[in-house]
Structure formats: structure tokens, C-alpha cells
């Protein structure tokens, strides 16, 4: 897969030959590149087929993957770890708060040291937006960087696994109606999803949330991408095929910015009554971790329209695909 020069100049995730060498953002990623990752991931789903005794393939044998999590995450870190293990790579988890950065070493000094330890792939999560882009600009050509979530900027592998899940259950993006409910403002997941869905030809995306989480400048940006804004779930969810609920990210908010727990649930929580306004075969998604009875009712989260656990399973295949594509470019 080779991408033309025009796109290369606007992002640093493609190398001079037009091949994907880092995964940093889904913004501006060409449709054929997204589809290539999804199709590659489909092959990796079979690695965990029930009758395959050895659920592991040797593609990344001898490669070292470093998980650099400057922000806590159990699920994402674990799925990257499992993905690297299933590809037979060596995975090293760095516990950043207790490591050298807390002794005063600069971020790039830490990176240089890890490169000197023969790292092949860095999986980076950082609370500062665009930190993985800086790291990608810093490392030598043969080292690859995967953004595992940066501030409120992007979470590309989550976006990819979400569109993979939608394609698995719904096939045709051009006919898809997708509602995203909740904390759009702080959600890198929502942003990655909107970019990927738009590129894949979905032309009915709705963002639903209180005004405090969809402020006018964000609403303007989203509108320019063709996203429709709603402040009432009942209005936005009508006839949709996909309902994605997002976690309220208290850690990124000022106090009083949104209605708390029970009040948010009353106004924006996805319950059975609201879900009934969507299409009868609509799927329910959540990137996790879920706050039950805040953004989603347990009956919906555990109901037969929920594909939340499928998202987790597909997430491993997507991360295997991304790592093996980057390592080969």
C-alpha cells in the first residue's frame, strides 16, 4: 500500500515511499489505507479460532514492542500486550510514573535510551495531545510509533476497531446512521471515529450531548465535517443503526461542567426506552471503561443489541494488523 505524495506532506505517519510507518491519527488517512488495515485485521481474527491450539503466529518474532503509558489504562495496554504476544514479539511494559522521567530525565532522553535498547515499536499513551507525534518525529526511520491515545486529540486504534465492528455487523457505510452520545468534547475516541466514518463514506453522523460538552466552536468544527448536533437523545437517536455511548471523562473536566451521575443518566443515559427509538436492529457500542447507570443502563449494556465485548475482541486483531503493517514498512 503506497499513498501519494500530497498526503505524505500533511502528516508524518507515512514515509518517503508513501508507506504507513507510524499510526498517529485517522484525520486525513486515505480510505484505501483504512480498508487495508481492516482487511488485514480480518485475517488476524482467525488466529484465535477455537480449533487452533496455538493461538499465536511468528510474524514479529525477534521484534521488541515497548508500551509507554504516561497515562493510566488497563484495557488498551493489555490489548496491545496481547496483540504483540500473539504476533510473537517481545513486549516490555514501562511503568512511567516510577521510572526515570520522575527522576528528571526528559521524555526524548528516555526515548533515545529505549531506541538504544533496540526498540522496534513504541505504543504511546500520553495525557498531552500530540505527544506521540513529537516522539515519531524524534525517532530514527526504523522505529515505529503507535498512538494509543493522546490527550483529547486521537485514539486511532480505537477508531479503527470501532469501524471494524460496525462493518462486521452493518456492512455498508454509505447507508449507515451513527449516533455518538455523551462527552464528545473530551473524547479522542469520538474524533477518531468521526474522521474514519467520514472517510469511509458514512454521511449521517450525529453528535448528542449537553451544550457544555458540545460547545459552539466544537459544534462548528463538527458541522464542517457534516456531523449533526443534537442536545436531546430522543431527537438524535431516531432511526440510527449504531449507537455509541462515551464515558464521561471527569478527570478532564472542571467541576459543575456537566450534570453529575444520576442527573446525567436521566438526561443523556442510554436506556431501553431511548434505544427503542433507534432502528430495531441497531447495535450498541461503548469504548470502555463503562460507567453503568451514568452513560448507559445495565440492561442495555448487557442486552442483545450490545456489541461492546465484540469491540474488545476485534481490538486485538486491529492492533495485530497495525503492528504487523508498520513493522513491515
Amino acid at each position: 500500500m503506497v499513498i501519494d505524495q500530497k498526503i505524505i506532506s500533511t502528516t508524518n505517519q507515512f514515509n518517503r515511499e508513501g508507506k504507513l510507518t507510524h499510526l498517529l491519527t485517522l484525520e486525513g488517512m486515505p480510505k484505501e489505507q483504512i480498508l487495508y488495515i481492516l482487511n488485514t485485521a480480518k485475517q488476524f481474527v482467525s488466529v484465535t479460532a477455537p480449533n487452533r491450539e496455538v493461538k499465536k503466529v511468528p510474524l514479529l518474532r525477534g521484534k521488541s514492542v515497548f508500551n509507554l503509558f504516561f497515562e493510566n489504562s488497563t484495557r488498551t495496554r493489555t490489548t496491545f500486550e496481547i496483540a504483540a504476544n500473539r504476533l510473537s514479539a517481545d513486549i516490555i511494559n514501562l511503568d512511567i510514573p516510577t521510572s526515570s522521567t520522575s527522576k528528571g530525565e526528559s521524555l526524548m532522553d528516555t526515548i533515545d535510551n529505549l531506541v538504544a535498547m533496540q526498540a522496534d515499536i513504541f505504543v504511546v499513551r500520553h495525557n498531552i495531545s500530540r505527544a506521540p507525534i513529537e516522539i515519531a518525529n524524534h525517532v530514527p526511520d526504523y522505529v515505529h510509533v503507535i498512538n494509543a491515545g493522546d490527550g483529547s486529540h486521537q485514539h486511532p486504534t480505537q477508531g479503527l476497531l470501532d469501524v471494524y465492528t460496525m462493518r462486521h455487523f452493518k456492512k455498508d457505510f454509505s447507508k449507515l446512521k451513527v449516533a455518538i452520545i455523551g462527552d464528545i468534547l473530551h473524547s479522542r475516541v469520538a474524533k477518531s471515529n468521526i474522521h474514519a466514518l467520514t472517510t469511509l463514506g458514512c454521511n449521517d453522523i450525529r453528535a448528542i450531548g449537553p451544550e457544555s460538552l458540545l460547545p459552539s466552536d466544537l459544534a462548528k468544527d463538527l458541522s464542517s465535517l457534516g456531523v449533526k448536533i443534537f442536545h436531546k437523545v430522543e431527537d438524535g437517536i431516531k432511526d440510527v443503526d449504531v449507537v455509541m455511548t462515551l464515558r464521561i471523562q471527569k478527570e478532564r473536566m472542571d467541576q459543575g461542567q456537566v450534570p453529575e451521575g444520576a442527573e446525567f443518566f436521566k438526561q443523556f443515559g442510554l436506556n431501553r426506552e431511548r434505544l427503542a427509538i433507534a432502528k430495531s436492529d441497531a447495535i450498541v457500542m461503548h469504548p470502555g471503561p463503562m460507567n453503568r447507570d451514568v452513560e448507559i443502563d445495565s440492561a442495555v449494556a448487557d442486552g442483545n443489541q450490545s456489541v461492546i465485548l465484540n469491540q474488545v475482541t476485534f481490538g486485538i486483531a486491529i492492533r495485530m494488523a497495525v503492528m504487523s503493517i508498520l513493522a513491515s514498512n
Binding site: N39, Q43, V47, R52, E53, L59, S324, S328
Partner: protein, 172 residues
């Protein structure tokens, strides 16, 4: 080059030889074709031998040229993934492929097969053996021996009535 005669020889070898003998043994025999040409062979043989099932092996995950060819090496897995609808452990697996050359594909196929269990026995049968082995692997049955320059590849084609034909193409 018409490959029908080679196919008929292989069919006869299996029908009158291997399956005849196997009918007196407790070990089950399963045909497993290597994607994509070998899988065509397995499909037609299963039909002609009235077998209820056959398997397919895709060697993509175990290829040894990943570093060289990168992810393109696994692209065929998308069109024809590994499918083994029976327990390979304690079974006699007959691997089928259209052409045997370096032996590297067969090495990868053995790795893929053993990821699913431990067969009692594995045999290899091909329509054409080109020699030029790079690994210590040989076929238990070869429909023909063909000598070709390294720059050329032997490609199996099948028509709408499932008849086989070999064509010679230049390597890119």
C-alpha cells in the same frame, strides 16, 4: 500444458492405493489442500472420492519471507483462510499442492498444520515437481517432473468445469 492426466493419476493413486489401505486402518485420512491451487485439488478430489469434507491450509502466517515481502506476504489469507473442519490430532493428513519447488511453502504448511494439533502422519502429493529444493522435503506422489528456468513460474488454472491446466509465466 494440460494437467488432467496428472490429476487422474493422483486420483487413481489415492482411490486404489491410499484409501484402499486406509479402509482397513483405524486412523482417519483427511485431504488438506494448500491455498489456492492445492485447495482446488482437494475440493475436486473430495468430490471424486465421495468424501464429506476436506481442509484448506493457508501458509501466510508462517511464511519465511515476511521481513522481505512484509505484510503483502499474508494477503492471500484474506481470500482463502485456513479451514480444518476435523480434528487433525491422530489423523493421517494428505497435504496437496499444485507445484512443489523450493519446499518452503510445505515447511510453512507443516507449521500451520501443527498449530492445530499433532497428526499421526503427514503425506505430500503434488501435480508437478519442479525439483530445485532448498529444504529437505520430498513428495510421496508427483504427477509429473518439470524442469523450468528459475525465471519462470508454473501456474495452475481451472476452467468452469473444474478441469486443470498448467501455464508458464515469467516471474515479475
Amino acid at each position: 500444458m494440460n494437467a488432467e492426466a496428472f490429476y487422474q493419476d493422483l486420483l487413481k493413486y489415492l482411490k486404489d492405493g491410499l484409501f484402499q489401505k486406509a479402509s482397513h486402518q483405524p486412523t482417519p485420512v483427511y485431504l488438506v489442500g494448500l491455498a489456492i491451487g492445492g485447495a482446488w485439488l482437494a475440493e475436486r478430489l473430495a468430490h471424486d472420492l465421495s468424501l464429506t469434507q476436506y481442509g484448506v491450509i493457508n501458509v501466510s502466517f508462517h511464511r519465511d519471507d515476511y521481513a522481505e515481502k512484509g505484510i503483502r506476504a499474508i494477503e492471500t489469507a484474506n481470500t482463502m483462510p485456513t479451514k480444518l473442519p476435523f480434528d487433525v490430532t491422530h489423523a493421517h493428513i494428505v497435504l496437496l499442492d499444485d507445484v512443489l519447488l523450493t519446499g518452503r511453502t510445505v515447511r510453512a504448511a507443516l507449521n500451520e498444520l501443527f498449530d492445530f494439533g499433532r497428526p499421526a502422519k503427514v503425506s505430500l502429493m503434488v501435480l508437478a515437481d519442479r525439483g530445485e529444493r532448498e529444504l529437505p522435503i520430498s513428495a510421496d506422489f508427483a504427477g509429473c517432473i518439470v524442469t523450468l528456468p528459475e525465471s519462470q513460474i508454473l501456474v495452475l488454472e481451472r476452467n468452469q468445469t473444474n478441469q486443470f491446466n498448467f501455464v508458464i509465466e515469467e516471474r515479475n
